[in-house]
Symmetry: C2
Subunit: 303 residues, 2 copies
DNA sequence: CTGTTAGCGCGTTCAG
DNA sequence: CTGAACGCGCTAACAG
């Protein structure tokens, strides 16, 4: 009986039909748990998320990536489990529990959560995994998918340059720089675009910008690119107190419907979060099925 | 052996210790699947979410509620599964799959997704459930938890009144009104607060407001309360084209860090989404354990 | 109190 | 090609 349901070939037409009929009759639903117990697979993948990140700040990231993941997971007839994890509280997390109990066939881990401790746990348990976002530390055998932040920053910068803006600065946060790889990539992309246009790159933290306030909050820039959205919000706070002298353009990597209602124009670039979720899930399934992967990682270009 | 792990009382100290030692020694991890198969429980609850809702619009709702849910789910040593569902595509949804395969012990369903079809499926399968948000249709035996939107609207309205604003209108969308119960509640709360203050309530759709544009986009109001955030965004779009003649205050029920940077002041009220998640999950566990519930539903007051 | 055994519902043999 | 038996790891019921 299990043979017909699982598409085994060695089955006569007649038997198959007979089984199918009874299946319909009793409207039989296979028990995934039992199936899993017998085949030692769970037909479930896990998605790990940051418990500490309580910010309700417009965070399309989470939802969009999830959307993509769910898409392919559903198509494969899998389900997916959410696993919370507190930073540096690995043992107490439901993530650790799920992995050690082997309640999933593979996991997706956001780069912010992918510490060396997480990595070794995964390795020890032999659990397939894909990191969402480029990992903060390089190690052979780690598969990941990320947005091509260098390329996105170049595109965004070029867009400002094409507008005739020559004085363009980029704002970053010192702490983010060591914590999030994408901040470095965005700065890098900005530099390249400026270099190609023969313009001078100017990088500053919010504090440095404040020091240059003789020229307003923009430090003599016509445009400011914010490496993260929260920096943009911080800058806006300060601009309320000390408005910049000259007109200024703002730009960021996240989109918000509020942008067009801000006093200053806010330019942004579309980042394909959903695609990232899809690619990550596809990669994970390849690992689960031990398919040979063409490449250890994928970078998704922004449009 | 199963007896000691599951906290059975009829066990001698000596045996318990002996078992525990061996457990440590082999660092044994119980297999939840097998446990589930034997006890016909899954130690998992499902959270159903809207697949069609692709809007990355500042939607703290989802995340915040999830946060609360995860909190209590984790504390109970359960896990939770995400189940997508397309509106009016019940059969094809992973929600239906999870429920009929009994891969969870109970589910949480957002009111927007809680149709009669969903209800009868749940009933047929005998699956415990809690609706997140007040259901659109009344039926005995449905348990739900919601924000007290009437109270929240009253609080928000009063806050505007206390500011000395007398001409306060509320904006709603005709379609939302039939689809989302909370819109009705918010209008109701607004009415009450206005009534108590002896002020005249003025309700309008965005279209009606446009008609009154002789007096600007606000229709002679000093303040506008938007029943949903997307309406606020729509209004802002129109205000860019035809700015209101007089100064105007805006108010809404969702918070966004962008609000304070909008040309007009935006007042908002804190809605305790996380609490809603906690209460919903608690209620679900009560149902799963067949505990007697004090009340069929819970309304959470806004601060 | 404790050791033993029969399923839970499937996949996977192994004979026929 | 097909039916039957066994085992996945655990709980629950049954004797001791």
């Amino acid at each position: 009986m299990s043979r017909v349901l699982n598409g085994n070939t060695n089955i006569s037409e007649r038997t198959r039909d007979k089984v199918m009929e009874i299946v319909k009759q009793y409207n039989y639903v296979p028990n995934t748990l039992a199936k899993g117990l017998a085949s030692s697979r769970t037909y479930t993948v896990g998605f790990c998320y940051d418990y500490t990140e309580k910010q309700a700040v417009s965070n399309p990231f989470f939802q969009m990536v999830l959307q993509g993941v769910e898409d392919v997971v559903y198509r494969r007839n899998f389900l997916f489990l959410m696993m919370s994890m507190q930073r540096d509280q690995l043992d107490a997390s439901s993530f650790a529990k799920v992995v050690t109990e082997r309640r999933v066939d593979g996991v997706l881990v956001p780069t912010q959560l992918f510490t060396e401790a997480v990595h070794s746990l995964l390795l020890r348990e032999g659990m397939p995994f894909v990191v969402v976002g480029e990992p903060m530390f390089a190690q052979p055998g780690i598969h990941w998918v990320d947005i091509d932040n260098v390329q996105a920053a170049m595109a965004l910068t070029r867009r400002l340059i094409d507008r005739g803006l020559g004085q363009i600065g980029i704002v970053y946060d010192e702490a983010d720089k060591t914590k999030d790889k994408f901040v470095l990539d965005r700065i890098e992309g900005y530099r390249r675009a400026m270099g190609e246009a023969g313009l001078q790159a100017k990088e500053a933290t919010l504090e440095r910008l404040r020091g240059m306030s003789g020229n307003g909050c923009g430090g003599a820039s016509q445009a400011l690119i914010f490496s993260t959205e929260s920096l943009l919000l911080d800058w806006l706070d300060e601009a309320d107190e000390h408005p910049p002298a000259d007109s200024i353009h703002l730009a960021t990597f996240d989109r918000s419907p509020y942008h067009r209602h801000i006093k200053y124009g806010v330019e942004s670039i579309e980042i394909e979060l959903e695609t990232m979720g899809i690619e990550a899930a596809d990669m994970l399934f390849a690992l689960i099925e031990k398919t040979e992967l063409a490449q250890p990682y994928i970078k998704i270009p922004a449009k």
